[in-house]
């Protein structure tokens, strides 16, 4: 396996995470089951004329991409790979509703043009004038991780490349509400910070973007080394335990040498047992960190875990709001990430300080 370094990273979420100098020092308290991102000043990154037509995904994506490139010192990436679970839902929804309410009449092209899943990837390329490889993955909760697998593969082919990888998902007015109807989102509003004690089915939903610059070469800007990453489409909780153990085995790592695990618990009593089964067994002696009570859940929410890992290495500390067990690590050199959604689209990743 060739090396894969995270040389730049930026995040926009429902917390003030876009300021690179902060690390969850202030927490915004959300009280609804669907809530929006905490926005940076997009005007600093996007011209007003261009911004008028941009949906939230495009604004978040273009801005986070620009921030991540800046933090890596790379001006022109050699590839742009984006992941999104639901794509440009806002424009898709508006176009669909116009079709349905106006019986397929009086339509204009802009919404359709911006509805494709690769809109953000295309817009980032257009903005940079980047003619390189440009792909978009849409695999539910593993959308960001399947993008990373491609980046890792690309660096094994040509290690000197700089690959810009991003995950983006947005809330759309009505389509997001549909996920309340089918039980994916909690019916009643809750105090989101208490998510893990909700005792109800479904989760809380939000939006955000994470972009990273990956390269096969370590630089002075390197935040972390991504040792390996794996996605599993479907597995039982027993199978997942075995899969995580053999994943670690392949890296020559034991749980004893993992300093912290970052888990995707989302307060859904129907599926959090996937995590709890690990928290009470192979992870029981390891510091456990969760974050969806801060940023909510959405298909690329797991990308926040990568941002967390990088920030923990950078700051050498863990904000207490993330801790969900009594174990405290002595150092933070090796972090394991695990996420799943509805028992599907599992992902495992191992980060190391570099």
């Amino acid at each position: 396996m060739s090396d894969c370094y995270i040389n730049g990273i930026a995040n926009i979420s429902a917390q003030p995470t876009s300021d690179p100098n902060l690390f969850l020092d202030e927490i915004i308290s959300h009280k609804e089951s669907i809530f929006r991102s905490h926005d940076p000043n997009y005007k600093e990154y996007i011209k007003p004329a261009a911004m008028r037509r941009m949906s939230k995904s495009v604004k978040m994506g273009v801005t986070a991409a620009s921030m991540a490139l800046k933090s890596s010192g790379v001006e022109m990436p050699d590839a742009i790979i984006t992941g999104t679970g639901m794509g440009c839902k806002q424009d898709s929804e508006k176009f669909l509703e116009k079709i349905l309410y106006d019986d397929e009449q009086f339509l204009t092209p802009t919404l359709f043009i911006q509805s494709t899943h690769n809109t953000v990837g295309g817009q980032v390329a257009l903005g940079l004038g980047c003619k390189a490889y440009n792909l978009t993955y849409v695999q539910g909760a593993a959308s960001f991780e399947t993008s990373l697998i491609d980046a890792q593969l690309m660096l094994s082919e040509e290690s000197e490349k700089n690959v810009l990888v991003g995950g983006i998902d947005e809330v759309a007015k009505n389509s997001t509400l549909l996920h309340k109807l089918d039980g994916q989102i909690k019916g009643d509003d809750i105090n989101v910070i208490d998510l893990f004690n909700s005792g109800t089915g479904g989760t809380v939903h939000s939006e955000g973007a994470t972009f990273m610059v990956l390269s096969g070469e370590k630089t002075e800007n390197s935040y972390a080394k991504m040792v390996d990453i794996e996605t599993i489409s479907k597995a039982s909780e027993v199978e997942i335990k075995d899969i995580i153990e053999s994943f670690l085995d392949r890296q020559g790592v034991t749980m004893d040498s993992v300093d912290a695990v970052v888990l995707g618990n989302n307060g859904d009593i129907g599926y959090d047992h996937y995590y709890e089964n690990l928290q009470t067994s192979i992870f029981s002696n390891t510091e456990q960190l969760c974050y969806k009570h801060l940023i909510g859940d959405y298909p690329v929410a797991s990308s926040f875990g990568f941002w967390l890992g990088c920030k923990i290495f950078e700051n050498n500390r863990v904000p207490s709001i993330l801790k969900v067990n009594e174990v405290s690590a002595k150092k933070y050199d090796t972090i394991l990430l695990y996420n799943q959604y509805l028992g599907k689209n599992h992902s495992i990743a191992l980060l190391q300080r570099c």
Binding site: P109, F112, T119, L126, Y133, N134, P299
Partner: protein
Amino acid sequence: MSKGVAITGMGIISSIGNNVEENLNALKSVSHGISRIDLLETRHRDQIMVGEIKKTNNDLERELGLNPLNSFSRTAMLGTIAAKEALADAQISDVNEYRTGFISGTSVGGMDTTEKYYLQYPESEENRRYIKAQHAGYTTQSVSNYLGIHGYVSTISTACSSAANAIMLGARMIKAGKIDRMIVGGTDALSKFTINGFGTLMILSDEECTPFDDNRKGLNLGEAAAFLVLESDEIVEKENKNILGRVAGWANANDAYHQTASSSDGEGAYLAMKKALKIAGLKPQDIDYVNAHGTATPNNDLSEGVAMTRIFGEENTPVFSSTKAFTGHTLAAAGSVEAVYSLLSLRENLIFPNLNFKTKMKEFSLVPQTELIPKEMKTILSNSFGFGGNCSTLIFTK
């Protein structure tokens, strides 16, 4: 020349046939699948021509033996039919005997069911199982779960180059030894969403489409699914497998010109073809035939044509045709549909014609192949381009 990655199976369903054999027969007898819309409900029914598969969703459900309460969209059902055929063709009975993954390209995913039930969801619980089914990744997992593939599964959605990118990714992963076997391709069903979307762009033809013709009026939308089985050389040797062809070259580049339109110099297409040739270790003159993207829109055919003249030289451009006048533009599936046709061309030593062409374009001297002809071929280049400036090229060898 690069040896490339072995293709050991293929499957397809399109408006010209429900399996590989039927598609081949239609291509050989030069009978296209473009018609008026019979099944999809839309007010544009009598205004446009499409490549519609004349099977209702109930027909497809029965064929697949699905439970009445399934949440398969039409896109997922078409994908399952084609992927099943590809596995059978590769004589795979135990899908998990080797590390096996699945990559599907789709543009709209389950939009066909969403647009049917969207307005009913708040009032009626009946069809709410389809809410999740709208998402592209769910479509893919409907297929992968049906096939019993539970490890690496991913969906690529780069509009009309999606399936080509899925084939590229599968080849790269096998070449790197990340996986032993990958089922790759794409699926898209007709939907009101895409019909109206392309309608607003004014690029739908009201007649049978005419790729590379000077008077071309736009594209015919189509629906289809096609999948290939890619296997490592270790499996091929161990099991003494029949090889249909190899994916020897692949590349993706971005036009970085406009969100939907292609540049007039075909820069993205040029870069994709150039890099794919480099990866395959081939020179432009090694290409025996080009299966062009050739959607029959004014913009695409000009941009792609210019890119071909830049790669091959205007006088030395190989025999080329677009098969979209047979099937319509099947969007995310187009790359894998045309991969199947390219493999059939290699196997049968036949070039399938570019239908409905009459008048050479003003901008260059390129003329597509308009009759079915025999030709001994070793190497075929296939293009697929999509919104977002997405340009992909695949090279298949015997």
